[in-house]
Amino acid sequence: MISLESSLELKRLQGSKLLVPYITGGLDDEWTDVLRAVVDAGADAVEIGVPFSDPMIDGPTVQEASQRSLDRGTTPLSVFSELRGIDLGVPTAVMTYYNVVHHAGPKRFAGWMVDAGVSGVILPDLCFEESDPWRSVADALRLETVQLVAPSTAEDRAKKLCDASKGFVYAVGVMGTTGERANVQESALEIAKRLKSLSEKTILVGIGVSNPEQASAVSEFADGVVVGSALVRRLLEGQGPKGAYGFVSELRSALDG
């Protein structure tokens, strides 16, 4: 298992801006090929969604992908079992909602992650104050629980969340759900600046980063970006591994440019 934190930090210290694409696990027959394609195109880590029936913080694109995946019979076990045989060469994190972990039980879920070689986890509805049962298990197994910080998060709380975050800090760029936006929001730049001044950790901005120009603009201040809906939409449209490779390559060039 490659540590998300040290792997991203190393690249950051070498002067690289970081790129973490998001893919809904089990979306179609080709989803693991898409994983390889985005890594080939220059992803520094990959975020893999384990679909949930009630994705509260996701917009229409990820909702549709989650539903499509669930309709194909995707379960946490099927996602983890497909990941088990794959060596991507970059660390992975799963993103899911807390009930999926809660229902399996923290120990069992953590075991699935370890077996599948997944380093990190993002649980957007697991408020930090509620997270002890999960984090005590995850920390002991060196699984990295990424904390999210939002534009609405107060200063002292933002500091606390950054300190507690493992892997990287997920800076929520927009007060809203996941989804593409026409323009970079001021809030995305603001939160990147704010968190960089608060913390030494790797700060990645996600939610509302939709294209190469936006990725590049946000990375002026942040250490890099998470790009979800813009990629997932291409997959829903049937662009497959080839389309994913092309899009992630464009993002990569913009960040390296």
């Binding site: 009630d54 539903q67 229902h103 509620e130 609405s152």
Partner: protein
């Protein structure tokens, strides 16, 4: 320790409740909590709230001794008549409180989710009363089966937004309202309609509904003396039951919540986390939330308020389920024996009583049952299920 029906510590009812929200919503929940705590302790606010309930919403509602029903069942039944409030259900108690709070918070808009449409109509009503903009999120399936309530909301000036994600019912309307709330926090209060959601909602909504139980308890004592033997209320999210139980939890009365068979979160669910709370939830082997299936749109919810999970876990309240068929029979029975056409929701409590009178509810027991809403909204559904049969009688 959590006080029984008192103020929960950190939003917890035993191991239930809590605040499982995305970080973007954390501050908003804290804000609602601090405003509510401030104003609920403020005599002027409470007086203003009580006065609106009395002068506008028709409180106090009577406690009606249902004599013909009592003699047929062999138990003494007293109906707490929330069906007689303005807008025709107990939902008004909560929305008046939250709309007043919205004004005090300096916000100009209010959003709500609705299942049957009762909470949506109540919210639209309160919004009109206080001059607030109002949007109501409603599952597409419910928009179709509750067309009358959709029109009522529109007539009251609210915008009804059909929700087409997931199962297209109440749980998806909650998701969509939460999503909308995140991007509108500065101007908008999310008026949750039941004792569910992240802290402080389960606590706050129960406080706004406790007027049901406090009135009923006083009325019973002054009309008949002492406490009833049983207190019955239907449970979907569980707000009328929580409000009713709040008035009797310290008494000797046995508390029974009645769930629909197809949405029995306490009877058939397991602890889970959704919509910001940890509570009992209908879910599959991997924690995916299952759809509730009930004839009553208002009880068509796969979860339940955390306080009910807590009351069940400590044995202070018990929860039973009834079938759609039993509910339809209860609608007819109460209509014909008492001249009260109940909403499908409280008809669940009536159905349980009709089935268990002389069994779980011994002969001669005194029973307070909350008639949480009137049945006009369900006329079409009931007619389509049993209308032809009624015509033949």
């Amino acid at each position: 320790m959590n006080t029984l029906m008192g103020q929960p510590h950190n939003g917890r009812f035993g191991e239930f409740g809590g605040r499982f929200v995305p970080e973007s919503l954390f501050r908003a929940c804290e804000e609602v909590e601090s405003f509510f705590e401030k104003f609920w302790a403020d005599d002027d606010f409470v007086e203003e709230y009580r006065q609106i309930l009395s002068e506008y919403a028709g409180r106090p509602t009577p406690l009606t001794h249902a004599k013909r029903l009592s003699s047929q069942l062999g138990v003494e039944v007293f109906l707490k008549r929330e069906d007689l409030t303005h807008t025709g259900s107990h939902k008004i108690n909560n929305v008046i409180g939250q709309a007043l709070l919205t004004v005090k918070m300096g916000k100009s808009r209010i959003i709500a989710e609705t299942g049957a449409g009762q909470h949506g109509v109540a919210t639209a009503t309160a919004a009109a009363l206080f001059g607030l903009e109002c949007k109501v999120y409603m599952g597409e399936v419910d928009v179709k089966r509750q067309a009358l309530n959709v029109f009522r909301m529109q007539l009251l000036g609210a915008e009804v937004i059909p929700v087409s994600s997931g199962s297209k019912t109440l749980k998806d309307a909650v998701n969509e309202a939460m999503r909308a709330w995140v991007s509108e926090l500065d101007t908008t209060h999310y008026c949750i309609g039941s004792v569910m959601g992240p802290h402080p909602y389960p606590y706050m909504v129960r406080e706004f509904q406790r007027v049901i139980g406090e009135e009923a308890s006083d009325q019973f004592r002054s009309q008949h003396g002492g406490s009833p033997d049983f207190v019955l209320a239907c449970v979907g999210g569980g707000s009328n039951a929580a409000g009713t139980f709040a008035g009797f939890v310290d008494s000797t009365a046995k508390l029974i919540g009645v769930e629909p068979e197809g949405g029995a979160a306490i009877g058939k669910g397991a602890p889970g986390v959704v919509h910001g709370m940890r509570s009992n939830l209908l879910q599959d082997e991997f924690g995916q939330v299952e759809e509730a299936k009930s004839i009553s749109a208002g009880l068509d919810y796969p979860g339940v308020g955390p306080e009910h999970s807590y009351l069940a876990s400590i044995g202070r309240a018990s929860y039973r389920a009834v079938s759609d068929d039993e509910v339809l029979e209860a609608v007819v029975m109460l209509s014909r024996l008492e001249g009260i056409v109940p909403a499908l929701e409280p008809a669940h409590a009536v159905a349980y009583l009709a089935r268990e009178a002389g069994k779980e509810i011994p002969k001669g027991s005194k029973v307070v049952l909350t008639m949480s809403g009137r049945g006009d909204k369900d006329a079409e559904v009931v007619a389509s299920m049993i209308g032809a049969r009624l015509g033949e009688r």
